[in-house]
Symmetry: C2
Subunit: 339 residues, 2 copies
């Protein structure tokens, strides 16, 4: 009897600790991905570019289609590989003609990018629709002028048909429409994790070590930047030029106010190397570097390890994606140009 | 009544013509992909590397994994893109450091490559298991030494686990085993088409124009090289140096006897540009070029168009492939080297 009471009170204490931790996390600005389809849709849909099944499926094809690049060899998925946590795994993105990003910028993950308040490391795009237009045209990335892209898509009748199904029969397949469609697909790339289930009240989803890590993550102030649904995604001060360990790499200075987009921490164990310049390869080192440069504190090995244990609980389930069969080019399709 | 008899006799004549065309096709060496799973398995399995579900699934992951390349950016699927008819759509393959194939050789399709009697344009590999070892190591392709590849795979516990599930717990994950596993997946990449249904007796599957094209295809002698299940895949004389229209491109001379692997014609409408050097972009021109250089005849525009109509019936249904989620690299995984 005594034992039962003891167990019961331990259980009660445990439950209290859990609900208190959830409360702490919420107070610190952490938010779960909702569990219902309707709530998710509300969060990810763009009223100016509303989602539909036809658009998502077409957007997936375009996302995987390397013919959106000048060479015909680079697709969105090349640098934001959905098989590899939505990234390419190299320090600085490699694009057309094997050109590295001139600012030594690392490809951020496309998974959960819908939750970012701005897109690109310097936050120059307000949304995914705008963002998707950038890399397609950028010379060191896909290097394709707008007219080349729209010309190729319009030369493939099966694509034209799919655009009609998605937007109506009078659709003008513009470059912007192509980017909109890709963005629609990207808005579906969210990864629900055990961490979300925990925040939504299923407290057994995190182990006690992970909970300890979460407590530290909040206590150390990591949540001052890594908050919201994305655990990141907003623009924050990050003095890359002055303090940062690998400041010598590249000339990136953030936006005009020195603000830099905080990367999401979801699936972070899958998206090394880290930071805008991809110069740090281990999570522990990344945590400690952020302690020094952003929070002005030394995070001990022990605490860093605990935080890393928590971070790994952010790895979520990826959506099932059937690899598309793309419509064949025709004799009217502009040829690839690898030069 | 008269009309009914007339229709009946037309129908009978039609049926006779159909069965005669099937017989002609068979006599010319054309073979269907069988319609039963068991018969297909018998045709595609390699007794030295027997297929299993675990091996196929693991092989799919490896096929899509760019970490098999030195840079971490090029996978088997980069040049043999399953979304694009199993090819890259450029004249000469582009590999590590944006290097073009030094012999200006075009990437052949991986779909139905299991039906080739030899692999590579010069037939230097007896099977897919051997073939898969080539491009991974080749400097202008994936540029990864064996030890780098085995080191990376062995550094990822989830891969090690999958190899154990596929081959038994004492498996030694050698470079050869990695290639074997990829080959197992490639053996599943076959595309059943209307043409196969026709050859198997469902004569309504081809239109009368397609049948006319098939008749011409046989009558002109195309089947002397393009026969078997692959409509190609064997080694035949092809004097690239002497007669071929684009002989100035590259230094490819075939094998030591001047023999060259005949490409499969399955899905040919999806795999432009054509020939070992990728210099011809339209099927009609390809048919006429083969008439001149291989068959010693001028094929008229009309006849070439008819043959092309038939060739398009060879486009088959691609297997459904769910895009894999690859296991994350670890701190022990050798970093990508883009140089």
């Amino acid at each position: 009897m005594k034992k039962t009471i003891l167990l019961a009170s331990i259980f009660t204490l445990g439950a209290m600790a859990n609900s208190s931790l959830i409360k702490q996390a919420q107070d610190a600005g952490l938010q779960a991905i909702p569990s219902t389809e309707q709530a998710i849709l509300k969060l990810v849909d763009n009223p100016k570019n509303p989602m539909s099944e036809n658009k998502i499926e077409l957007g997936k094809k375009l996302y995987f289609d390397p013919r959106l690049s000048k060479s015909g060899l680079i697709s969105c998925n090349t640098c934001h590989n959905l098989a590899l946590g939505g990234v390419d795994g190299v320090e600085a993105a490699i694009g057309h003609n094997w050109t590295a990003n001139p600012h030594h910028l690392n490809s951020p993950t496309v998974y959960n990018s819908v939750f970012n308040t701005k897109q690109f490391w310097d936050g120059r795009s307000p949304d995914l629709e705008d963002q998707a237009q950038g890399p397609i045209q950028a010379e060191p990335e896909m290097a394709a002028p707008k007219a080349l892209v729209t010309g190729r898509i319009n030369s493939i009748p099966a694509y034209v048909e799919e655009f009609r199904n998605a937007y109506g029969k009078d659709v003008n397949i513009s470059f912007e429409k192509i980017a909109d469609t890709i963005a629609t697909f990207e808005r579906t790339l969210i990864t629900f994790s055990r961490y979300d289930k925990f925040l939504l009240g299923d407290t057994k989803q995190l182990t006690s070590s992970e909970k300890e890590g979460l407590k530290l993550f909040i206590a150390k102030g990591c949540t001052s930047c890594h908050n919201g649904v994305a655990l990141g995604g907003s623009m924050q001060v990050f003095d890359a030029g002055k303090k940062y360990k690998y400041k010598e790499v590249g000339d990136f200075k953030g936006d005009k106010n020195g603000m830099v987009k905080v990367p999401t921490l979801r699936n972070i164990e899958e998206t090394a190397p880290y930071f805008h310049n991809g110069k740090i390869w281990t999570l522990k080192e990344a945590v400690q570097e952020m302690g020094t440069t952003q929070l002005g504190m030394k995070i001990s090995d022990e605490d860093a390890n605990k935080i890393v244990t928590f971070l790994k609980s952010l790895t979520g389930k990826k959506p099932n994606i059937s690899y598309p069969v793309l419509p064949a080019s025709t004799e009217k399709t502009a040829k690839p140009d690898v030069n």
